[in-house]
Every structure is written in structure tokens, then in C-alpha cells.
């Protein structure tokens, strides 16, 4: 790893890391602030839920959830946090090397006396460090919000820890898959459409998969592998998590190989 590349990359990520961290924090905090009110009218709430169409509940992974319980409510809002985390990680993945090519700085950087493997490792570590900051912030805000608003209601720690621990793998999937796709296409002109498509695409796949009961399709999406409802109810990971881990490994190895052989596109 080159420390100078890492430092620069990290600095470039910092603003975005802060923005995303604040955004996800606000989402978790404000959402969970509703919990006391809703929990007090638990019966009303569950009654209302029962009137929703089954498909809708499936789409949001809400079947069998007791919204009046601390973790039930948390797992519901965690899905939205996951969407944010997915977009952030995909952003960093898609932009990791493509931005340098777009802004023509690749010609500058790659003519320096460092190998491509080293460049990529430094960039990956910088992006991962950024994601980890967001990850830590999510932990702090989650525990803070739960303790602030649970009003004495108890909850099990283990499922919550498992849920929060899953974030790191979840982020890595979108980071590495984004990266490998960016290297498979000739040029990424704009990062946002790609990361939005990947994150929402995967989410929609999981939502529709549940609705249609088509398990083959939904098995490929990390939103299914890390379904908050499943982790909370079973206090364990779905074995499908291994698919996510495999996706990370394949994407990373593929990215290194592709980047080592890549012809850096020139301006024209």
C-alpha cells in the first residue's frame, strides 16, 4: 500500500463520508423517535398492519414483525438504512478507479512509480476506511436511539449485534461488485446512475422476490442474505450470507486481474 495515495483518497472521501453518516444517522434517529408513540398504541398498530395486503408486508420484509417490540421496530427501519449504506458503498466502488479515468488523472497517477496492484489496494483501503466510519456512526446512533426511546422496554442484545455486525459485509459486497462492474464496462461517465441501479435493483429484486415467492431470483441479492427480519427473529445469519462473501471474493480477485491488464482510456 502507498500511504500517500491512501491519504489523498481518504481526504477525497471525507466529505461524502460525513454526509452519508449524518444522513443515515438522521434516518435511524428520527425514525426510532416515533417508536414510543407507536409502541403505546401497539394494538392499533398491529391491527392496521393486519389490514395491509400480504404482498406489501412481504415487500418490506414485515411479515411476522411485532412493531411494538424494540427490535421488531428497529429491524423495520434498518432496511432503509441498508438501502442508504448500499448506495454509499456502491458509489465508492463505481468511482474507485473510474473517476481518475474520467478526469484524466489516471494518466498522472499511473505514470508514477507505483504498481497498479498497489494503487488499487490503497484506494480500496481508503474507501473501506470511509465506509467503516459510517458503520461506526450507525452503531453509536442505533444504540443511542434505542436507549433513548425504548422507555424501559427490554430487548435481546445478540440479534441486534448480529444485525449491526452484518453491515461490514453488506458494504463490502456493494463496494466490490461496484468496482468490478466499473472495470467490466468501457467507461463510467457518471457514477450515480450506476450505484442507484445496483442498490435499488438489488432491493427491488429482494422485495419482488418475496412477493412472488420466487426464491431463485431473490437469492442473489444481499438484501435477502441480510434481511433484518430474519436476523432478528432467528438471532442467526441466513446461510445465504455465504453467497455475499463469495461475491466479494470473486469481485475483488476479478477487479485486481482486470485492473492489472486494463488499457487506460485516453481523452478522445
Amino acid at each position: 500500500m502507498s500511504t500517500n495515495i491512501f491519504k489523498l483518497e481518504f481526504k477525497m472521501h471525507l466529505k461524502s463520508v460525513i454526509t452519508w453518516s449524518l444522513g443515515v444517522s438522521a434516518l435511524i434517529f428520527l425514525y426510532f423517535a416515533l417508536f414510543p408513540t407507536l409502541a403505546r398504541d401497539a394494538e392499533l398498530l398491529n391491527e392496521m398492519m393486519a389490514q395491509f395486503p400480504e404482498e406489501l408486508l412481504l415487500a418490506f420484509g414485515m411479515t411476522g414483525i411485532d412493531l411494538a417490540s424494540v427490535l421488531g421496530f428497529y429491524s423495520f427501519l434498518f432496511l432503509f438504512a441498508q438501502i442508504c449504506l448500499a448506495i454509499q458503498a456502491a458509489n465508492y466502488g463505481f468511482s474507485l478507479v473510474s473517476i481518475e479515468e474520467r478526469d484524466l488523472t489516471a494518466d498522472f497517477l499511473l505514470a508514477k512509480p507505483v504498481g497498479r496492484t498497489q494503487i488499487m489496494t490503497s484506494k480500496l483501503l481508503a474507501a473501506f476506511s470511509g465506509l467503516t466510519i459510517t458503520n461506526i456512526v450507525v452503531w453509536i446512533v442505533s444504540f443511542g436511539a434505542i436507549n433513548l426511546f425504548r422507555e424501559g422496554r427490554s430487548f435481546e442484545t445478540k440479534p441486534l449485534l448480529l444485525l449491526l455486525l452484518s453491515i461490514v459485509v453488506f458494504q463490502l459486497v456493494f463496494l466490490s461488485v461496484g468496482l468490478v462492474i466499473s472495470l467490466l464496462v468501457k467507461r463510467v461517465r457518471s457514477v450515480t446512475p450506476f450505484s442507484m441501479a445496483l442498490a435499488f435493483g438489488m432491493y427491488v429484486l429482494s422485495a419482488f422476490g418475496s412477493m412472488l415467492g420466487d426464491s431463485k431470483l431473490e437469492n442473489i441479492t444481499p438484501f435477502k442474505h441480510f434481511e433484518p427480519n430474519y436476523i432478528i427473529q432467528n438471532a442467526a445469519y441466513d446461510p445465504l450470507v455465504l453467497l455475499s462473501v463469495a461475491a466479494i471474493l470473486v469481485s475483488l480477485v476479478g477487479s485486481y486481474l482486470l485492473y492489472a491488464k486494463r488499457d487506460i482510456p485516453s481523452a478522445v
Partner: protein
């Protein structure tokens, strides 16, 4: 000793031609010009030497070492000025140059300030806000600050005003005096003419000619213009004459061959004026294009 060497270097982008069978070698301490129209393959050649792209065939060597296999090691001693200006968003000039210096040996940071001073570059500005010419200056300083032994310049003078261009040439000559070998690509011949000792002409991906710049100018063509009364331009239409043109009472043409032949032809006329000049590289160059 040859420092930069291409052996049958070939690059295809998919099916599109980059360069084909390009071979040349540049000796230590040379300023080697590389000229050709846009799209001829100049940038492709340079980017192969910096291993930004990989050859489809042949080899590129610097210091006798393969440019790809020993890439990181070789690039320690390479300075590269890309043809297109680049910048990291929101970065100040000084930040970028310091970042660049951080890849090289100590002392590069000191040289950075000297170079910025010579090129009259404002270090405090954001690169995004700079004009094209000023961005080009950032590129120049970035490419030279580690005092490399080999310098690749890809269209370095585009966007520079004549005064700065002069300073830049002096800078290159100075680096050259201190032992740097320079590979200078441009599509503007007068620029190459000013500074290079030898040139390669590339066209449609292939090397057309490699020559000493003086040979190119002297041994080839003479540009002759004769003003006389009762001119019969067909008299000049002999072997070795090309681009024959007549315009009110004068003929002008290029001539390659025994000069006595022409002086005899001229003496047949009642000459009012005659000029025999070296053609400019541009004029020579046209022949390679036709």
C-alpha cells in the same frame, strides 16, 4: 547508448488501429522529435512507454528494460506530460504538485518551487479554476519536478503563450544539458524544429521516416523562386522538380537533385530576382502526407 527503444511496437484497440510495427531508438542525451497529424499514434506510443496501455505486439524498452515488466522501477526516472490537462476536483495547485513529489526521491519538493517560479505558476489557485495554458504549466512542473532521466512530452506547447513557450524550451534544453533524454511529440513542426536534433515522422500508425533534422532540411529539397520576364514555366518541368507554380511573372517550385541543372535553366532567362531557400519542415512534411 539507446535509452528509449521500440521494436515492432504495435497496438490495436480492438479492431481500431493504434500503431503498427513502430521501431526506433533514442540515444542518451538526445532530444527526439515525434511528429505526425492528430490521430497518427503519437499519444499511443508514449502511453505504451508509460505502461498506461499494453502493447498488442512488439516491445517498448527504457534503459534496456521492458517498460511493462519493470514499470514501477523505470517510472521512477520517467517524467510524463500528458497531452490532455487533468485535475483532481477541488485540489489546489500546490497540493497536486506536493502529491506528485511524494512519489519520488527527496528534493523533489524543492525543485517544485523552482520550476513553478520559472513557469510563473500561481501555486495557491485551485486547478479547476485555471485556464487551459495554466493547467498545462501544472502538467509541465509535475512532469519535471523529480528531475527524471527520460522525459516524455505529449503536445507540451499547446495553450502556452510564446513567452512561456520560450521559457519552457529553455527549461527543456537545461534538463537536456543535465543529461535528460527527451521525447517530444507534436503536430506543429516549427515547434519540433526549434528544439529537436532528430525526428521521426509518424502517419496512420506507421513510421514514415526517421532523420536528422538538418538532413531532413538540407539534403532533400530546395525551395526556389525565380522572377523573370518572358518566363516559360514548362522549361522548369524537369526531373526533380515538384510543386511547380506560376504567379505573375515568377515561378516557384521545390527541387531535389543536382543544383547545377537548375542554375543552368535559370541562366537561360533574363532574371530579375531569384531565391533559393531551405524549405521549412512544414513544407517537407507535406510530401510525406501526399
Amino acid at each position: 547508448m539507446s535509452i528509449i527503444e521500440a521494436n515492432n511496437l504495435t497496438k490495436y484497440y480492438g479492431k481500431a488501429r493504434g500503431i503498427v510495427d513502430v521501431s526506433f531508438s533514442v540515444d542518451e542525451g538526445e532530444i527526439f522529435g515525434f511528429i505526425g497529424p492528430n490521430g497518427a499514434g503519437k499519444s499511443t506510443t508514449i502511453r505504451l512507454f508509460c505502461s498506461l496501455i499494453y502493447p498488442s505486439g512488439g516491445s517498448a524498452e527504457i534503459f534496456g528494460k521492458d517498460a511493462i515488466k519493470f514499470g514501477p522501477e523505470i517510472r521512477q526516472e520517467i517524467g510524463y506530460l500528458p497531452s490532455e490537462v487533468f485535475y483532481y476536483e477541488g485540489m489546489k495547485v500546490l497540493d497536486l504538485l506536493k502529491y506528485s513529489a511524494s512519489f519520488y526521491k527527496e528534493g523533489s519538493t524543492k525543485r517544485l518551487y523552482e520550476l513553478a517560479d520559472i513557469m510563473e505558476l500561481d501555486l495557491t489557485r485551485r486547478i479547476d479554476d485555471l485556464s487551459y495554458g495554466n493547467k498545462k504549466k501544472v502538467g509541465i512542473v509535475q512532469g519535471l519536478l523529480h528531475q527524471p532521466k527520460v522525459i516524455f512530452l505529449d503536445e507540451p506547447t499547446a495553450g502556452l503563450d510564446p513567452l512561456i513557450q520560450q521559457k519552457f524550451f529553455n527549461l527543456i534544453r537545461e534538463e537536456n544539458k543535465n543529461g535528460a533524454t527527451i521525447f517530444f511529440s507534436s503536430h506543429i513542426l516549427s515547434v519540433v524544429q526549434k528544439i529537436c536534433s532528430r525526428v521521426a515522422i509518424i502517419r496512420e500508425g506507421k513510421i514514415v521516416e526517421i532523420q536528422d533534422i538538418r538532413t531532413l532540411q538540407k539534403d532533400n529539397y530546395k525551395k526556389i523562386r525565380v522572377t523573370a520576364s518572358h518566363l516559360d514555366e514548362t522549361r522548369f518541368d524537369v526531373d526533380g522538380v515538384s510543386n511547380l507554380e506560376k504567379e505573375d511573372g515568377a515561378v516557384s517550385f521545390f527541387f531535389k537533385g543536382d543544383i547545377n541543372l537548375i542554375t543552368r535553366l535559370i541562366s537561360e532567362h533574363d532574371v530579375a530576382d531569384v531565391t533559393i531557400e531551405e524549405p521549412t519542415l512544414e513544407e517537407i512534411f507535406i510530401h510525406y502526407y501526399e
